[in-house]
């Protein structure tokens, strides 16, 4: 893996650049733009972006204000942090569960495999969003629950890919050699098989981060995700909907933010796939 090969993929380069810009804004922005995300400026509700027209200085609302007078720009940035954090944590949970399940199902086969496959079928029969909505209703909508729910409903995706790869690698020479010299199964699984399936895991994970961000946005949009006054792009879209005829910017800004972020992640994922395994070009 050398620099030239990495640079050859336009997707990867574009994705990394775009994502870095986004991350820069989201993570570093609030340090520069010091506004409180939940402070409501009573007299200044629903202001349009004052980028070009407004007064300069400390009282400028770069992207306007929302229905309660809160600054849209800072809410976008903090909301972005939350969405990203939730997504990354949820992916970590799903990844861990999925990899472990996939490894054992793929290596041992037999009834573990059958049980896993049935469970997969069952989980896939219920659409993610619907399942997530139900569990949120039961456990209550807060950020921790959100992470747990997203993590526990989607691990199957990783499990399937890992299982398929494990079943392929299992038959290779060096695994048979390891078994011949008496290596215990756990060592074989974790020290020999696992490092070789890292590639598809990385690719899937990068695709799924974007998916989880959209899931979190959908849940927050429905009122079942991040709760006020914490900002979330989905919730901002829901609030902004009410004012779409007056100040469309309230709903459009988070919408565009969502689109660009997921787009960057998808392009990055494509780029990673191009570099790591071009065979997977068709989804």
């Amino acid at each position: 893996m050398n620099m030239r090969r990495i640079l050859k993929s336009k997707n990867l380069v574009a994705g990394v650049i775009l994502l870095s810009i986004l991350l820069g804004i989201i993570l570093l922005g609030p340090l520069v733009y010091k506004v409180d995300s939940s402070q409501q400026f009573a007299g200044k509700r629903n202001l349009p972006p004052q980028w070009f027209t407004g007064e300069k200085g400390d009282n400028m609302f770069i992207l306007g204000t929302d229905g309660l007078g809160r600054d849209v720009a800072i809410r976008l940035m903090i909301g972005g942090r939350l969405s990203l954090a939730i997504s990354v944590f949820a992916v970590s949970i799903a990844l861990t569960i999925g990899i472990v399940m996939g490894l054992f199902a793929g290596y041992y086969g037999g009834w573990i495999d059958i049980v896993l496959m049935r469970f997969t079928d069952i989980q896939l029969a219920i659409p993610v969003l619907i399942l997530a909505i139900t569990i949120v209703a039961i456990l209550g909508p807060n950020i921790t629950n959100l992470i747990i729910i997203l993590g526990f409903t989607r691990w199957v995706t990783w499990a399937r890919i890992v299982r398929a790869n494990v079943m392929q690698i299992k038959e290779l020479e060096f695994i048979k050699a390891a078994r011949a010299i008496g290596a215990p199964p756990l060592i074989i699984i974790f020290r020999h098989i696992l490092p070789n399936i890292v590639t598809p895991i990385i690719i899937i994970s990068s695709q799924m981060i974007g998916f989880f961000i959209l899931m979190e946005a959908s849940l927050s949009f429905l009122g079942l995700g991040v709760q006020p006054p914490d900002p979330s792009w989905g919730a901002m879209i829901a609030e902004g909907r009410n004012y779409i005829l007056v100040t469309p910017w309230n709903a459009l800004a988070p919408g565009i933010a969502l689109m660009i972020t997921v787009l960057a992640l998808n392009i990055l994922g494509d780029g990673l796939r191009d570099v790591l395994d071009p065979r997977l070009k068709n989804i």
Binding site: R118, I122, V136, A137, A217, S218, F221, L222, L252, I256
Partner: protein, 306 residues
Amino acid sequence: MINYIIRRLIQAVFVVLGVSVIIFFLLHLAPGDPARMVAGEYATEEQVDIIREQLGLNESLIIQYSIFLKNAIRGDLGTSLHFKQDNLDFILYYLPNTLKLTLAAFLVAVIGGLILGIIAGSNKNTFWDLGGMSIAVLGQSTSPVWMGIVLIFLFAVKLNILPPFGMGSWKHYILPSISLGFPQMAMIARLVRGELVEVLNMDYIKTAKAKGLTNRVVILKHALRNVLISVVTFIGMRVGVFLGGAVVTETIFGWPGMGIMLVRAVLGRDYPLVQATILIVSTLIVLINLLADISYGFINPRIQYR
């Protein structure tokens, strides 16, 4: 072949049963006393106890589940706490609306995806290809959550040519179905393009061209058939995504379907209704997957079913 169908049918039944078990026990973890919710705020303890006995809540969970299952098979999916109505009737009232929306989005996705993919695939590396695939990459990042808003803003607010809310004329179908179907259309387009490019390199295509057939005939009659196999498989896998996305789309566009109903039921802690809805949705998905699998066996002559 018949053996395969029977096996898949049994499998499907097990999956639906599994779903029902999970949903049943999940909802029983929910806080709150269903008996009290039915009885209302002003009932006395004795009245709540009587209702609890009536609802069979004093039995063990396993017995409760079997009662639930027995009723479900007979078509009784419980009564909605809020609407005091038979759940099944309620659901069947709203389900057709959701199905209409999903079908419209499905058509958008398949037809749009096929067209985009074919144009891109047959003109590989030209403007059509790169342009088409750029749209596809963009499309994969869309979600009804933000696309709906953007579409409403552009077409309903700014240009004022399409209605933003509700269900009525054929015009009401346009924005929601695009909103729901666009990401799937993008994925289908990418799939079709990839498959088409591969297929066009094969020998039998070169033979057809050598025979003197026009490009269009070659593509439509010969190459497409193989591409369709992949498309059908893909679609079968994505039914769940369509139905899940319908929830958000219905909320954005005020479409009176099962999605909105489910969200309201969940927010209102109407557990019997939630349970019934999920059961029906899952059964539907399992059925469609089954049909897709079986039809896959018919379209692809190379598959041998043991």
